[in-house]
């Protein structure tokens, strides 16, 4: 009886998933494997992907670098928040979330305003006599955009993991001869691994498929896989190739999250299931 009820309750969501996720997914697979002109089955679209492996590699590279920078910036912040009083924790948590309340597009556009050749930063540099320098349309600007936009996704799972680490374990480590640095290396860091893996996944997945950040902040040499896909649908008018690219990207993301979860499942209490 109970089982029936719960099945009934989840029906709306299941219908939603089928209509707007599973069926479109099938459509993507269909487009990826059919010829744009004749509509017949073909491996041609996937063969055409050969020219994009470089772009795909570049996307993965940028996303991994961003995730790593997010980790280095985010870990101390998460650690700091987790060791404040409960009230302070709530406040700081809200502050971390705050940028997410603003539109993603707006946040990225704001960086354009800051970094462009006639932007605020360059105006200032010119004013103090340093002279204008190339900030926008550089790889650094793309990484900056990714780090800026996705940093909260790193901090939140890290915080959730660190705050759960029992303080008595720290005392136990001290009792057994660990100095402060050793306590961190031998107890706190290993116990943070689930949060680190969650954080990297949550930064990597949206970063690897973004196109807006690279379009607004990047140049011609920082084209990412997301840009290519968008172009196939909007300018190239080749949805079949776009679908093939999406399919590959999706499989890549699946593999990445799979690897992460594999690592994570060895540890206690991962944040992402």
């Amino acid at each position: 009886m109970k089982k029936n009820n719960s099945a009934l309750l989840s029906t709306p969501y299941i219908l939603w998933m089928v209509a707007f996720t599973l069926i479109p997914l099938g459509v993507v697979v269909y487009y990826a494997l059919t010829d744009p002109a004749t509509g017949e089955f073909t491996w041609g679209n996937l063969r055409d992907l050969n020219q994009y492996w470089g772009v795909l590699g570049q996307s993965i590279g940028y996303s991994l670098v961003s995730a790593l920078i997010c980790l280095l910036l985010g870990y101390p912040v998460a650690y700091y928040i987790a060791h404040r009083s409960p009230t302070a924790q709530k406040m700081l948590y809200m502050l971390v979330m705050l940028p997410m309340c603003m539109s993603f597009l707006l946040r990225t556009l704001a960086w354009v305003g800051l970094l462009q050749d006639t932007g605020i930063i360059n105006d200032f540099l010119a004013f103090i006599g340093v002279g204008r320098i190339q900030l926008i349309r550089t790889p650094g600007a793309v990484v900056l955009g990714m780090v800026y936009n996705y940093l909260p996704y790193m901090i939140l799972p890290l915080y959730a993991t660190i705050v759960k680490i029992d303080h008595r374990l720290v005392e136990a480590a001290e009792d057994l001869g660990c100095s402060g640095v050793q306590v961190f290396g031998r107890v706190i860091l290993p116990l943070s691994v689930p949060g680190i893996l969650s954080g990297i996944t949550m930064v990597f997945v949206p970063a690897v498929s973004t196109f807006y950040i690279s379009q607004k902040l990047g140049g011609t040499d920082t084209v990412l896989i997301g840009d290519v896909i968008e172009r196939q649908f909007k300018q190239g008018n080749n949805p079949n190739l776009g679908a093939a690219l999406s399919l590959v990207l999706m499989i890549l993301v699946f593999i990445c999250t799979g690897i992460m979860n594999r690592f994570g499942s060895d540890e206690e209490g991962g944040v992402i299931a």
Binding site: L169, D175, G177, S179, P190, L191, E268
Partner: protein, 373 residues
Amino acid sequence: MSKELIRLRDLTMEFDGERILDGINLYFNDHEFLTLLGPSGCGKTTTLRIIGGFLKPTSGTVTFDGKVINDVPPYKRQINTVFQRYALFPHLDVYDNIAFGLKVAKLSKDEIDRRVNEMLEIVSLKGYENRRIDNLSGGQQQRVAIARALVNRPKVLLLDEPLAALDLRLRKDMQNELKRIQQAMGITFIYVTHDQEEALSMSDTVVVMDKGRIQQIGRPEDIYNEPKNAFVADFIGESNILDGVMLADYKVRFFGRTFECVDSGFAPNEPVDVVIRPEDIDIVPPSEGHLVGTVTSVTFKGLNYDIIVEFKGFKWLIQTTDFHAAGSTIGIRLNPEDIHIMHKSDYSGMFGDYSSYSAEYDELTEDAGDEEE
């Protein structure tokens, strides 16, 4: 006995203006099994944490082997701790938990292996090396915690209510086990508990604490037989505590009757607290009794019956192996050695009256459930 190892001098501790420890003076001998015993909030865990180096006293000094160690951090002390609820490392297996301190000390692999295996033998956990901590029972986790501390060969082992989370049967086994390990390794154990039976059965010395002060220090027998005040008498076992007057040496008067006793050295006619243990009371036919009273309730306890007997409006607890029905009239006799005399203290009148017996029992059970942080 053997030489002094640790000394606490005028130790006080305050948290947010609240005084947790109030002038603790205490020394610990080498090879001694000493227990800090008291109810929740008495300061026993705070004292232990100061010795371990996890807290700094507000004032007073901690001396170890003749040197003041107030400012020495925990990792530089030759002291290890078995924590309440163990605090084992969940990311390491049994072997690596035990080897933790040795690896930090950068001992050779062979040496680590030898000592961990020796410890596994001592705590009977051979074959569990690669088990994960969460796949162990409470008793096994307890043993890992002890092994993890002892493998470092500390001079002193601190144990913070280490058996509180175990069931009764296992607790008894572990008590014997701990005593055996302490004697085998020949080191000092400082043990914190609120369980008086545990304290009495394991310790060389018991320190009874309440309200941040030491109430009594002594061997278990002395603490039990010669409690210093009503608090100790009540906390260590059950006690009937009555108002009395010490007429002269070896003569005490209570309940309108003069009894012979074995205590002396009180001022003439000094008001005193008289302690009579419920198991020391002999029940006799009413005609032969020093006192005659009416049984008001009977509770079967397994080993004995707890009966409440009313004498002239004052209710006593008597433990007896013979059944006496509620409502029956009985007589009691008191031998001189069963009567313990204490000076009046702040605790006089607060304990030892069984008028509300069941209520007091509930309170005791609740206390035992709490854990002190």
